[in-house]
C-alpha cells in the first residue's frame, strides 16, 4: 500500500488510528498487537504471499535474539558468537536469494559463458530494510545493548508500517522504549497536529514536486539508455532532474513516514538534512539517507576496523563499505559503480583533509568563494554518481556522461532562435546549434530543475521548520539557523491546507516511491 493513495489515506490510516487509540485505553498490549496486525496487512496489500516470509524472518530473528539475550551473562562467548553467526548468515542468505541470486547467476553466465537459469524471483517489498533492521538487532543483542522478550513489541518494531518498506532503518534501542511508554497509546492533539504537518510537507514533496519533475528525468534517461545521444544541456537537464526527483521523492517519503509515526506518538530518526547543501562528500553522507549511513558505519565500517588501523586501511574500509552500500541498493553493476564512486570521493575527501591539516592548516576557512567552490565540486560529484544510479545500462550511463562533458555538442531548441534575436547568431558562432523540436520539453525541464534546486538549497528543510516540536530523534534545534518556523497559527494552517490539497489532488496520478525498489 502506498502512503500517497486514496485507500491508505481514506481507509487504512483513519481505521488503524481510531481503533489503536480506542484499544489503547483498555490494553496497551492489544493496541500494539493491533498496530502490528495492520502493519502486516499494509505489507501484504500488494502481494500477500510474502507476509509469510516476513513472519518467518521475524520469528527466526526473535528466537535468535532471545537466545543471545539468555547468553548475555554467561561466559560462553564461543556459543554466543556461533548463535550470532548463524543469525547473520541466515539473514544474508535470505537477502542473497531473493535479491541477488539472478544477478550473480547472470554475472557467472557472462564470465563463464554458461547458461544456468533460475526461476524468476519476485523481490519481496522492503526485504533490504527489514533484513538490515534485524541484523542490527542481533548484533545489539550479542553485545548486550538490546534485550527483547516481548514478542508483540518485537513484531511491531520490525513491521511498524511507517518504516517497514523503505525505512528509516531503525535501532531497537530507540524504538522499544517508545512502544513501552503509556503515553504512546493515548491520543494527543499535539502529536496529531505535528505528525499531520510533517506528513503534509512530505506528501507535497513526493506527489507534486518529485512526480512533477520525474517525466523529464525519465525522458532523458530513457533516451540515453536506448542509444540516443543527448547534447550537453539535455544531458545536464536530465541528470539534474533526476537529482532533484530522487531527493524530493525519498525525503518526501521519509517525512511522510516520520509524520505518520508521530501521529501514533512515536518519534522516528531523521533520514535527510538538506544533503545538497553539503560542501564536501563526508558532509553529504551525514545528510543523505542518514539512517542507512549510520547502519553502514556501525555494523560494517567500524567492525571492519574503521579508522583504527591506519589511513590506508581506513580508505580500504571506506571503499568496501560504499561498494556494499551500493550493492545494497540493487542487484546491478551500476549500483556497485555508484557505490565505488562514492567510496573514491570519500577517500579523496579524507586524503585532502589530511593534506590540508598537515601542509595548509589555514585552508579550512576559505570564505564564501571557497565554500561555493567546495559546494560546486561536491554537488557535481554527486550528480555524476547519480547517473550510474539511475541509468538502467552501463552504456546509457556512459552516453549520458559523454553528453554532460559536451561530446555530443551543445544545442538549443530552434523555437528559441527567433526569440533570442541577435544573440542567436552569437551563440551559433560559439558552436551552439539550434535543433528542431523539443522546445517546451527543454523549458519545462530547466524550469523544474531551477525551481526545485532553489527549494532544496535555499529553503529550510522539514525538521528545521518544525524545530520546536521534536521532529526527529537525535535532532539538535540549536544548530538551526533558518528563520522560517512553523507555528500553530491560522496562516500556517492555511498554508499547510494548500500543500495538502495539492498533495491530495495529485493522488489520482500517484506513483510508487523510488526507494520501494530497494
Amino acid at each position: 500500500m502506498l502512503f500517497n493513495s486514496y485507500s491508505f489515506l481514506l481507509l487504512f490510516l483513519p481505521v488503524t488510528a481510531i481503533i489503536f487509540f480506542r484499544l489503547g485505553t483498555y490494553s496497551r498490549q492489544l493496541a500494539a498487537a493491533w498496530l502490528g496486525a495492520t502493519s502486516l496487512f499494509f505489507y501484504g496489500y500488494w502481494n500477500p504471499a510474502y507476509v509469510g516470509l516476513l513472519l518467518v524472518s521475524i520469528f527466526f530473528n526473535y528466537g535468535i535474539g532471545y537466545a543471545l539475550a539468555r547468553e548475555h551473562n554467561s561466559d560462553r562467548n564461543q556459543r554466543k558468537n556461533f548463535i550470532l553467526t548463524v543469525g547473520i548468515i541466515a539473514n544474508l542468505l535470505l537477502l542473497g536469494y531473493y535479491k541477488y541470486a539472478n544477478f550473480f547467476l547472470d554475472t557467472a553466465n557472462r564470465l563463464l559463458d554458461t547458461s544456468w537459469t533460475l526461476q524468476d524471483i519476485l523481490l519481496p517489498l522492503g526485504i533490504s530494510f527489514f533484513t538490515f533492521t534485524q541484523i542490527a538487532f542481533l548484533v545489539d543483542a550479542w553485545s548486550g545493548k538490546a534485550r527483547e522478550y516481548n514478542f508483540i513489541h518485537y513484531l511491531l518494531f520490525v513491521t511498524y508500517f511507517p518504516h517497514l518498506i523503505a525505512g528509516p532503518v531503525l535501532h531497537h534501542k530507540e524504538m522499544i522504549p517508545q512502544f513501552a511508554r503509556p503515553e504512546t497509546y493515548r491520543f494527543s492533539w499535539d502529536n496529531m497536529t505535528i505528525g499531520l504537518t510533517i506528513f503534509t510537507i512530505g506528501l507535497f514533496k513526493k506527489s507534486v514536486l518529485a512526480d512533477g519533475v520525474s517525466t523529464y528525468a525519465n525522458l532523458a534517461f530513457h533516451a540515453a539508455d536506448t542509444g540516443e545521444k543527448l547534447d550537453l544541456l539535455a544531458a545536464w537537464g536530465g541528470a539534474l532532474a533526476y537529482t532533484v526527483q530522487l531527493y524530493f521523492d525519498f525525503s518526501g517519503y521519509s517525512d511522510m513516514a516520520i509524520g505518520l509515526s508521530r501521529m501514533f506518538g512515536i518519534v522516528l530518526p531523521l533520514n535527510f538534512n538538506s544533503p545538497y547543501k553539503a560542501t564536501n562528500i563526508i558532509d553529504f553522507w551525514r545528510r543523505w539517507h542518514m539512517t542507512l549511513s549510520r547502519f553502514l558505519r556501525d555494523y560494517l565500517y567500524i567492525p571492519l576496523g574503521g579508522n583504527r588501523k591506519g589511513p590506508m586501511r581506513r580508505q580500504i574500509n571506506l571503499m568496501v563499505t560504499m561498494l556494499l552500500g551500493g550493492l545494497w541498493h540493487g542487484a546491478s553493476w551500476n549500483f556497485v559503480l555508484w557505490g565505488g564512486l562514492h567510496g573514491l570521493f570519500l577517500a579523496i575527501n579524507h586524503g585532502w583533509r589530511s593534506v590540508c591539516k598537515r601542509y595548509f592548516p589555514g585552508l579550512g576557512d576559505t570564505g564564501i568563494w571557497g565554500k561555493l567552490m567546495a559546494w560546486a565540486f561536491t554537488f557535481i560529484a554527486v550528480v555524476v554518481a547519480w547517473v550510474f544510479f539511475r541509468a538502467t545500462t552501463l552504456e546509457g550511463a556512459l552516453s549520458m556522461l559523454s553528453g554532460m562533458i559536451g561530446l555530443h555538442g551543445i544545442s538549443l531548441p530552434a523555437a528559441l532562435q527567433s526569440r533570442l534575436g541577435g544573440a542567436a547568431d552569437l551563440l551559433e558562432s560559439l558552436g551552439i546549434q539550434f535543433s528542431l523540436g523539443g522546445g517546451s520539453r527543454f523549458i519545462l525541464t530547466w524550469g523544474w530543475v531551477i525551481c526545485l534546486l532553489a527549494i532544496a538549497l535555499f529553503l529550510p528543510n522539514t525538521q528545521e521548520l518544525m524545530r520546536r516540536h521534536r521532529p526527529g530523534l537525535d535532532f539538535d534545534p540549536a544548530a538551526v539557523t533558518a528563520r522560517l518556523e512553523w507555528r500553530s497559527t491560522i496562516v500556517w494552517g492555511l498554508a499547510m491546507a494548500i500543500l495538502a490539497v495539492a498533495g491530495v489532488l495529485s493522488l489520482s496520478q500517484a506513483t510508487q516511491f523510488l526507494y520501494y525498489q530497494f
Binding site: 528542431l436 491560522i490 494552517g493 499547510m496 495538502a500 490539497v501
Partner: protein, 400 residues
C-alpha cells in the same frame, strides 16, 4: 493545536470542493458539459483522447464512426461537407499513437451500445511492422470500455470510471488545465478537440506561422527516419502469414459483416517524403506486401461490405512542395508534415469515398488490381526522384 487542526481541515475541505467545482464548471477535457467549437477551446482534451473519447462516443450514438490513429484524428473532420446527409451524426474515434488493436476494441465498445452504419478505418503501415515473435497484448484503454476482450460485459468498468472521475475532477492536473483553459478561451492558435472528436490542429497552424513548414517537415522526417530504421523489417509472426495487427483488421471486418456495417479501410495519403523514407529505410517491399495482404483480407473477409482504398502514392497532393528553410510565408495546403495530412486532403478522400472527387486520387484495391497499381506507384516514384533529386539527397543525408 486542536483549533489549528480545525482550521486546517476546514480550509482543506473548502479548497477541495472549490477545485472540483472549478474542474466541473470549466470542464478542461470536454467530458461533462456541452461546448462550442468556436472559441470554447479544449486544449487539454486534445491531449487526452484516450481518456475522453470512449465516454464521448457513447453520448453521440454515431451513424458513422472514424477509427485509426492521429492521421485520421486530424485528417477526417466530422463536419466536412463531403459527408452525405445519411452519414450523420459522425464521431471521430481515432486516437493518436494507437494501432489496430485499439481500433478493434473501440469498435466493440461502440457496438455494445449502438450499431453504426458505416466505419472509416484508417490503417497505418508502421503498425504492421512487428517482431516475428510479437504477441497479442491488450491496451490499457480496455478498462474503460463496455466490453472485455473476450466479449463479456466489463463489470469492473465502474472502478475505472471512478478513477477517471477523480482524474478529471479532483486532480491537480485538472486544476492547472482548467486555469489554462480559461486563459486561452477565445484566443487563436490553441489546440482543441471538437465535440465530435476531431483535432483541428490550431496549434500547428501557429507553429507553422512562427517557424515555417520546413521546420515541421524536417523535424518529423528525422523522427520518421529514426522510427522506421528501428522498426522490425517484418510483417508476420514467425512461421505464419498473419500477425496480431492483421488479425485485428480481420476481426473488425468479421464483426462489421455480422452486424451489416459498411467498412471503408483507408490507406493514408502519406506525403512523398514519407514514401521516400520507406524506400530509404528498406521498407518499400514490405509496404507493397502489406497492401497485397490487406487487399486479400478485405476481399475474402468482407463479402463486399468492405472496400480497401489506397490513397498513398506520388499523386499531386503527395508531391506538394515543402518550402525552403527560413520561408515562413509559404503555406503547405494539404499536409502538416509528411505523416499528417490536413482536413483539406481529408475532404478529397471523403469525396472519393462518397463516389465524387478526383478520380485519379485513390484506388479501391482488390487482389486483381493491386500489382498493377503498385507498379504504377513505383514508376511514379522514379519520376519523382528525378524531378526532386536535391530534396531526395537531403532526405538521404538525414540518415547520417
Amino acid at each position: 493545536m486542536a483549533t489549528y487542526l480545525r482550521i486546517w481541515f476546514l480550509a482543506l475541505l473548502i479548497l477541495l470542493i472549490g477545485a472540483v467545482t472549478l474542474n466541473y464548471w470549466v470542464d478542461p477535457y470536454g467530458l461533462y458539459r456541452p461546448y462550442s467549437d468556436g472559441g470554447d477551446w479544449k486544449p487539454h482534451g486534445a491531449a487526452q483522447g484516450e481518456l475522453v473519447k470512449p465516454y464521448l462516443v457513447l453520448k453521440h450514438s454515431p451513424r458513422t464512426l472514424i477509427l485509426g490513429n492521429s492521421r485520421a484524428e486530424v485528417g477526417f473532420d466530422p463536419e466536412d461537407a463531403a459527408w452525405p446527409e445519411s452519414a450523420q451524426p459522425l464521431f471521430n474515434l481515432a486516437l493518436p499513437g494507437t494501432g489496430t488493436g485499439v481500433a478493434r476494441r473501440l469498435f466493440e465498445h461502440v457496438l455494445a451500445a449502438h450499431s453504426p452504419q458505416t466505419i472509416v478505418l484508417g490503417v497505418d503501415f508502421m503498425d504492421f511492422l512487428v517482431s516475428p515473435d510479437v504477441r497479442k497484448w491488450e491496451p490499457e484503454i480496455i478498462h474503460r470500455l463496455l466490453i472485455t476482450p473476450d466479449g463479456q460485459i466489463n463489470n469492473g468498468r465502474w472502478l475505472q470510471m471512478m478513477f477517471d472521475g477523480a482524474v478529471t475532477l479532483a486532480s491537480l492536473d485538472a486544476v492547472l488545465h482548467s486555469i489554462d483553459t480559461v486563459r486561452v478561451h477565445g484566443k487563436a492558435g490553441v489546440a482543441h478537440l471538437t465535440a465530435a472528436g476531431f483535432n483541428p490542429m490550431h496549434d500547428y497552424s501557429r507553429i507553422a506561422r512562427n517557424e515555417g513548414y520546413f521546420s515541421m517537415f524536417r523535424q518529423r522526417d528525422i523522427e520518421n527516419l529514426r522510427a522506421y530504421q528501428k522498426r522490425p523489417k517484418n510483417l508476420f509472426s514467425r512461421g505464419t502469414h498473419t500477425s496480431p495487427a492483421f488479425e485485428d483488421v480481420t476481426a473488425i471486418l468479421d464483426v462489421a459483416r455480422a452486424h451489416g456495417i459498411q467498412v471503408k479501410v483507408v490507406i493514408y495519403p502519406y506525403h512523398a517524403h514519407l514514401l521516400e523514407i520507406f524506400r530509404i529505410t528498406n521498407c518499400w517491399d514490405m509496404f507493397e506486401d502489406w497492401k497485397r495482404e490487406l487487399a486479400y483480407r478485405v476481399a475474402t473477409d468482407s463479402h463486399d461490405q468492405a472496400t480497401l482504398w489506397d490513397f498513398s502514392g506520388y499523386h499531386h497532393f503527395a508531391r506538394e512542395t515543402v518550402p525552403l528553410a527560413g520561408d515562413k510565408q509559404t503555406v503547405v495546403h494539404y499536409y502538416w508534415e509528411a505523416g499528417h495530412f490536413k482536413k483539406e486532403l481529408g475532404h478529397q478522400i471523403l469525396a472519393r469515398l462518397s463516389g465524387q472527387g478526383e478520380p485519379a486520387f485513390g484506388m479501391a484495391l482488390t487482389p486483381a488490381n493491386v500489382n498493377v497499381h503498385l507498379l504504377a506507384i513505383r514508376q511514379d516514384g522514379i519520376k519523382y526522384r528525378l524531378e526532386r533529386s536535391a530534396e531526395i539527397i537531403q532526405l538521404e543525408e538525414l540518415v547520417q
